[in-house]
Symmetry: C5
Amino acid sequence: MRSRISTFVRFVVLVSVVLAVVPAVNAADRDKLLSEPGVYGTFAAFRLDADWVKQGQTTRITQLLTLKGVVEQHREKVAIDVYLLRGLSDRADLLFRIHATELRDAQEFLLDLQGSLFGKHLTDSTIFSGLTKKASYVPGMPDSLKAELKAPSEPGPQPYVIVIPIRKSADWWGLDQDKRAAMMQEHTEVTVPYLKTVKRKLYHSSGLDDLDFITYFETSKLEDFHSLVLALEKVKEFPYNRRFGHPTLLGTVRSLDEIIEVLAQ
Amino acid sequence: MRSRISTFVRFVVLVSVVLAVVPAVNAADRDKLLSEPGVYGTFAAFRLDADWVKQGQTTRITQLLTLKGVVEQHREKVAIDVYLLRGLSDRADLLFRIHATELRDAQEFLLDLQGSLFGKHLTDSTIFSGLTKKASYVPGMPDSLKAELKAPSEPGPQPYVIVIPIRKSADWWGLDQDKRAAMMQEHTEVTVPYLKTVKRKLYHSSGLDDLDFITYFETSKLEDFHSLVLALEKVKEFPYNRRFGHPTLLGTVRSLDEIIEVLAQ
Amino acid sequence: MRSRISTFVRFVVLVSVVLAVVPAVNAADRDKLLSEPGVYGTFAAFRLDADWVKQGQTTRITQLLTLKGVVEQHREKVAIDVYLLRGLSDRADLLFRIHATELRDAQEFLLDLQGSLFGKHLTDSTIFSGLTKKASYVPGMPDSLKAELKAPSEPGPQPYVIVIPIRKSADWWGLDQDKRAAMMQEHTEVTVPYLKTVKRKLYHSSGLDDLDFITYFETSKLEDFHSLVLALEKVKEFPYNRRFGHPTLLGTVRSLDEIIEVLAQ
Amino acid sequence: MRSRISTFVRFVVLVSVVLAVVPAVNAADRDKLLSEPGVYGTFAAFRLDADWVKQGQTTRITQLLTLKGVVEQHREKVAIDVYLLRGLSDRADLLFRIHATELRDAQEFLLDLQGSLFGKHLTDSTIFSGLTKKASYVPGMPDSLKAELKAPSEPGPQPYVIVIPIRKSADWWGLDQDKRAAMMQEHTEVTVPYLKTVKRKLYHSSGLDDLDFITYFETSKLEDFHSLVLALEKVKEFPYNRRFGHPTLLGTVRSLDEIIEVLAQ
Amino acid sequence: MRSRISTFVRFVVLVSVVLAVVPAVNAADRDKLLSEPGVYGTFAAFRLDADWVKQGQTTRITQLLTLKGVVEQHREKVAIDVYLLRGLSDRADLLFRIHATELRDAQEFLLDLQGSLFGKHLTDSTIFSGLTKKASYVPGMPDSLKAELKAPSEPGPQPYVIVIPIRKSADWWGLDQDKRAAMMQEHTEVTVPYLKTVKRKLYHSSGLDDLDFITYFETSKLEDFHSLVLALEKVKEFPYNRRFGHPTLLGTVRSLDEIIEVLAQ
């Protein structure tokens, strides 16, 4: 195994050199894309086909370079995050999260990805998209709660990622706005104890796919995340979820280089 | 990538020459097919098989020419639109919408398409058909609303397409005609703010497949479309949808030449 | 394409010669099988595998001859109809309807079909069987209605075929016989306007598969068929359908020779 | 076809000779396994893969010999029945029913079967197991009914087999024992007219798979079986079936040699 | 078959020698991982692909050595159990249960497993994870019941394994804690007669996958396990299971060496 890894290291050096020669691109304003409302988030999960592992390491590395190339090329317009689902989710091996101001830009990235030498091995795609919106605080929500919600979660690496798509029942949308607001306040209150250790982000997706919301979580304490979901299952709003998960995507947050290293071995 | 594209350009020129030699066919009266009642609309979505991307570019271009040929050949009888779903929908890569006065003509086109060199790579078809009907305004619907419904949507490119199949519950069909009409008026009213930016078309499909309606949308403002669906989820008619989506097909409107260009690269 | 077709025509002539040499078989009493009660109807739909289209035309024609041979061979015992679903249904490309006095005879035909050179390309089978029964008119059904039901549908070609499997809910079977009869009379009455243009046949299948009924329709006026289903959705018996379709098979009625011609090209 | 069959006959003779040389094994007490309580019944259905039919006849016969060999080898411990589903069920081509006093013994047979040259072509397995129990007559069930239930069904070949898995609803298990007993008596009474022509056997499977019961039927009169199921759909116990079928397996009872003959051709 | 096995035995000897040379690793504290709260349990089931059985025995044995190697390598951090599902479950052939204090460690093992020469043949993974917690006895639960629950199950081999995933309905989580506790006490009481012969373990998985609990059972008396499930179906808590099984995984407990032996043959 040692010698295999050293082959890999040599290739990585080579890649760095090759990529360094590529003229620098202006990266998309990643912070803005990740924090502002009116941004589209596309979640694209894939399995690697059966041929992938049957190839030699050198071939795989060559192909992984095209993955790196495509990501670099599109960073100008979209923000791309990668996650390793293999071993923790049976739905897919890899997950890409793409933030873009226009959904077309996410499509362009995915077209180039799937058209690359690496992308030819991506199958069984699971794709859904949503839109970020300004947090609409429930009228009458105490200021103390609002303040707590704005408190940043703990800094540092949050190794686990969980994505849970949600579809509300027709009954939910038929409720008076007041009733929905009251239930969302209860929902929000039970999340407070977990704000520090579980980072969260919400996407609205009615009409864009067979969902109403995509909920995204990062945490270094999976047990806290489990307790959070358990608490949410007990609030009055929960029975209005017609679909919660299916799939629940669970994986680990990885840099693109880590993904490449795992897949090269 | 530059040299690859120039190869492609040379081929496209060749194609244009070849197709120019083909005797001109009388195109079907596309405007009539797209606007009149009593026309069948067939939605046929396909995935490209795993072999497609593994072929060389020249082979792929040769095959794409047969796609162009089949479309040209059938334009005499049917109106054909193409959409790129890849990257935005996991259900399919390509969507064809075929309008025909007889469903047999759509079948003939699809038989020739699937029998072509390109069509041999089309798999996992999703097919459903519906019928256009004269808009039956609800009795008692205010004239002002009728006028608003007739107002044209904004001209210019509408890059996004969304197709949502709908099956109503048995309860819906069991309602008094009056109750259904009142609910459809409420449904119609909430769509008014979006008439300008979201183009729509309705197909009736009871008996032709496991659906009652196929709803088709084009928009350049996806956020408006999302708001429209959100508004529709809140009207009294919504709980009578037993199936809404499944699949929701989301993609971009493309010319046949754009599709060919994307697939050739 | 011309030259391809002439190759095909030459083969067809050859086939005719070959088949003419085969000693004449006594065809099953087709009329009797199609009209009498106590006959089993098996619906067997198949997809053609990916290899089929990748073969040369000569190979395909040779294999299609074995299809023709198997059908001829079994005509002594069973009545066989063929339909082209490709292009109109995503569930299958071909549909066989086999009528037999013993279900074993349908099985023997399908075993020989699947074992033939052509049959090796048939995959993803969808199979269900039902039994014809004497029409049991509802007690108290007006004689005028009975007479209307006996009126023949319009003669001539009925190009479209639709097969809709139905499973009733447990509630349906739990109703009093009287209530079921009253609802079936209402059901029957709404079908009267369509008796002339929509040909129909009913198979009973409780226990033979996961269905209670198989409904079979032929029509040259698809719009009438659509209106018929729409009318049936509004009667009181409709909510007692737990499954209606899934799949709805839609296709065109074709002779065996037409099927062979389409698949050879 | 004649010459093909004679090749086959020569191989069968060879097989007989080969197997005759194998030292005689003590067959499991088949009668006991098929009639006593406390015996496990495993139903294992398989499809033949696409490669199977593409092999030459000689290769297929060689592989079928290994099927025969594995069955012979395990007859010492388990009772094995085989059924041909192909042509009547779309779920599978072959069904094995294995009776064993320990489920491990059925597993050992299936491991050897799947590991044999023939078994390498078995795919898409559908497997479920249940346990036979002493018939627990409902308290208060009339002796006349009990006597009728004990009457043997008509002797002679029963060519059709039907297997229907059943899962009861949670409501069923929540009923008082008395209510369940009363309903089972009604259920039993409607089966009486069919006792002579429809042979039946019940397996209990709660916990062993996603079922509560496996019901097994043999009959030479499929129409009687259909009438029996129709009658059962009308009793009060029927709505408590959450799953009835899915799959309904329908096929013909065959000897191992018949199966081999069919698959060799 | 004898000679095949002797080839196998020779290889096993070779393996033992090879592995003996590998420097001894500190095994994870298996007892602690299997008994303490706060441990993650990952269930990963796989099918062997169609190519696996088509390889020669020597190739398969070489690949099985890599399975053994990967397991040995990760024993330092995680506790790994293996089960043979083939022949008893149609969902998978092999099941791995991995206990780890961090889910990442289970992922690392599965990444290495799937990346190994053996792992390249593993497909159709089914993966779900849960967390062990301290048993939270219902308030007011009699001490006698608590004592019974702590009694060890019968020692010795428990050859059968059953894994049943459970999702509770939203109604369950909406109940008062008292009502849930009362129902869980009833649930617990009916399990008492089976404590000796059916070993059990509970994992909490809300949020980690589309489940709330994973229930794991080992027994040498399958009939007792069946009776236990039958008893549980009758308690008041049972209707609150929205999903019970799907899949139910049934197999036999095997050592890694036994698995290797079975797969090598």
